[in-house]
Symmetry: C2
Subunit: 487 residues, 2 copies
Amino acid sequence: MQALEKLRGRMAELSDLAAIEMLAGWDQLVMMPGDGAAARAQQLGTLARLTHERATGEEIGGWLEEIDGAPDAAALDELDRDIVRVARRDWERARRVPDELAVELARAAADGQEIWQQARVDDDFAAFAPALQRNVELARAYAECVAREGESRYEALLGDYDFGLRTGELRRVFGELARALPPLAAQARVRSPRRTLEVPVGAQRAAVAGTLRRLGVDEASWRVDISAHPFTAWVGRGDSRVTTRYSDGEVESLLSSLHEYGHALYERQIDPALDRTNLGAGTSMSIHESQSKLWENHVARSPAFAEVLAAELGAGGFAVAPAELHAALVGVEPSAIRVSADPLTYPLHIVVRFELELALIDGDLAVADLPAAWREQMRRLLGVEVASDALGCLQDVHWGAGSFGYFPSYALGCLIAAQLWEAMEAELGPREDDLRRGEVAPIQRWLGEHVHRYGRRLDTMPLVERATGRALEIEPFLRYVTPLAER
Amino acid sequence: MQALEKLRGRMAELSDLAAIEMLAGWDQLVMMPGDGAAARAQQLGTLARLTHERATGEEIGGWLEEIDGAPDAAALDELDRDIVRVARRDWERARRVPDELAVELARAAADGQEIWQQARVDDDFAAFAPALQRNVELARAYAECVAREGESRYEALLGDYDFGLRTGELRRVFGELARALPPLAAQARVRSPRRTLEVPVGAQRAAVAGTLRRLGVDEASWRVDISAHPFTAWVGRGDSRVTTRYSDGEVESLLSSLHEYGHALYERQIDPALDRTNLGAGTSMSIHESQSKLWENHVARSPAFAEVLAAELGAGGFAVAPAELHAALVGVEPSAIRVSADPLTYPLHIVVRFELELALIDGDLAVADLPAAWREQMRRLLGVEVASDALGCLQDVHWGAGSFGYFPSYALGCLIAAQLWEAMEAELGPREDDLRRGEVAPIQRWLGEHVHRYGRRLDTMPLVERATGRALEIEPFLRYVTPLAER
């Protein structure tokens, strides 16, 4: 079938372009001399434009029609059927956005990000408000373009990050979290208080390198570098790149390197048969975040793995008892800032953002009222008094960059990680003894088999059900954090 | 004029794609984990295919025609006229190659390179001969496609590296070198014998870093890395990347880092008004090589700059007298290998290759007879007995990779560098005192003004004439090497 061959050829091209864009982005943040920024922005713009053009071309519609109408259409194997199904979905979604709106969205996102950056420095919400207003309006217009039958605007936006997610489902899950977590947090801040551990950077570096080596991070197919904000780039099969950062007297590097490792491992274990197709990537932001959170929360923050981490810090010249290290990695203290939140209160920061962005998109909250609403939510859910907008609704880049519907994936990731972890232990038995010895191969295999290999063949919720036998629920996460409130 | 705007838009896009390709190639050789090679090859293939498609599209011809026919065509400013002129030239040349031939050329080049690599290891010319035969035939077919009125096949091939170069001119210049250099070499090997200097890698690294810093290599817009073979990547304005390599007991790193610096400085000093046009790149291989050779031969190998290099080695813990260092940087000894040749005999290696590849393309030399012809030429021009084909006609990758007409630029670079150097000293006075202090700003400025800023607006020979007031001649180069035979 010639049309199928052409479609697969185009998907291979788009997959290569995505990898190149990933590489150029990685280089920009890790290697590029600062003065190269303007040229790089142009290059990335050109790549994005070309990609958009090749992803939305009329000819793709022609191929899809031809494949549908072909006499042997029913004879397609399962893989090709999935390729065609997802290609149609992506193409139709991308085609629904007029070019002018796409250009306006990109420009407003770039402007908004810049204005946000300054406004945060100046703690000046009023300076940011018009840009935010514009982003909200454009997001609504975009949502109206891409919304499918029966989808709300907010659900349409979610589709960019987690295809098929329903607002009602989020309301239910986040509502349960909003009820269950605050009382646990109140206990945990007393029973598992936040502690600092003054680990020198040299010991952190040694421990990060040694720990990642135990997890299979070798020089043949990985890079580990430093960047201002940790992230992962997947530049192609056999080329995984994670970054971390180090600062004296923090243990964040131990957590963030395992977090990024989880993202990288996901992409590495996708079925190689999906390489250079439209299915050969992580399926959604929530599942991706579940993979990073699984290694951050359930491995790096486990009492058992603390023995490995403590041994690696020891080899780096910093002696610490595993229990003391573990206490520093899990200490609970409700605070104003999301990115440094403890594992228990972290999802509450997301609930705050979900409710507010939903109200912004639905028109139930005016931009001017956001700072007050933010303070009110933080008080209600975390018991925190927000001292300034810079430490409040200006702390995250997302809304300035025009991203609405992205935040939920952070909390869903925590929940899904806990649910996957329980399903895995139900099958393999408790991981404690293995983790104490740094043995993670069975975990890697289980994730490969039940989560990773599918790539984009399964969407978020169907994948959760397939892997765990149950719809998404909050109880596994509650069981994960409850010990912090009870010890 | 709308067509002009479209043309310039396309040229900007092609310039961005070229920069991205450069980045992906740099990364492959400097940063990429080894297992990423297969995916990277696919990505580079996709980039090349897309670039070819956008560079040869029918629509470009339409724009060119529209621009020509426009009532205000005469009102184009000089820059736009040059953009249109070079765009037409590139487009017509690229369009003359049928897609199937382009694919065959690429495949034969990749195969040939692989076969060459093994044949060189095995010292087995017979194993390489069929691939070489195929490359010769394809190069002829390609030449017949792109040759313009009155151009020979070999001249058509030269056009990929040095547009407008004539075979007759090369015969004349290289014939003069073949007569003048061998007697000088015979004297120089006695008067300026090759000497080794056992410089530890640590001192080399310190000296390379310190020397490049003096030349303006800062962290804001440069990278200096290590790779198996030194090269330069120009990833965009404000983003120059040179590499070098270090081995104990060699001084090659001092020469190669200044060589690559010369390439990088050329691209950096192109008029910013040419950025993202089809003119914003070095104009030819010869001019590029003249820029690297100028810094390698006339700066790094000068007795005056040896004082700077010796001081930098001293700061790195290796004490050496400037005169001793200089002697090690210029020592003459005819040998079998091009890449490690001394400054005097280097062009003779190119004369050997020029005569042989010209004969191969013209059909005057059969592939089977190449090894014997090579030995004969080496004996005649360098007085060297070639011990094996691996150290003879199998030593370079070029022919295996399908590159014919590339070699001359290496020798032309030496000649043009010497001619530019004399023209510059005629204007600025002798550089000796400045070089002794490491003061190179006047050299940088002169090159920027007379060579670099033009980008592709002037081809090789017109640029030489504009910069030096004379056609290309060999005397400046002879004057540069004669002291080696006379001291």
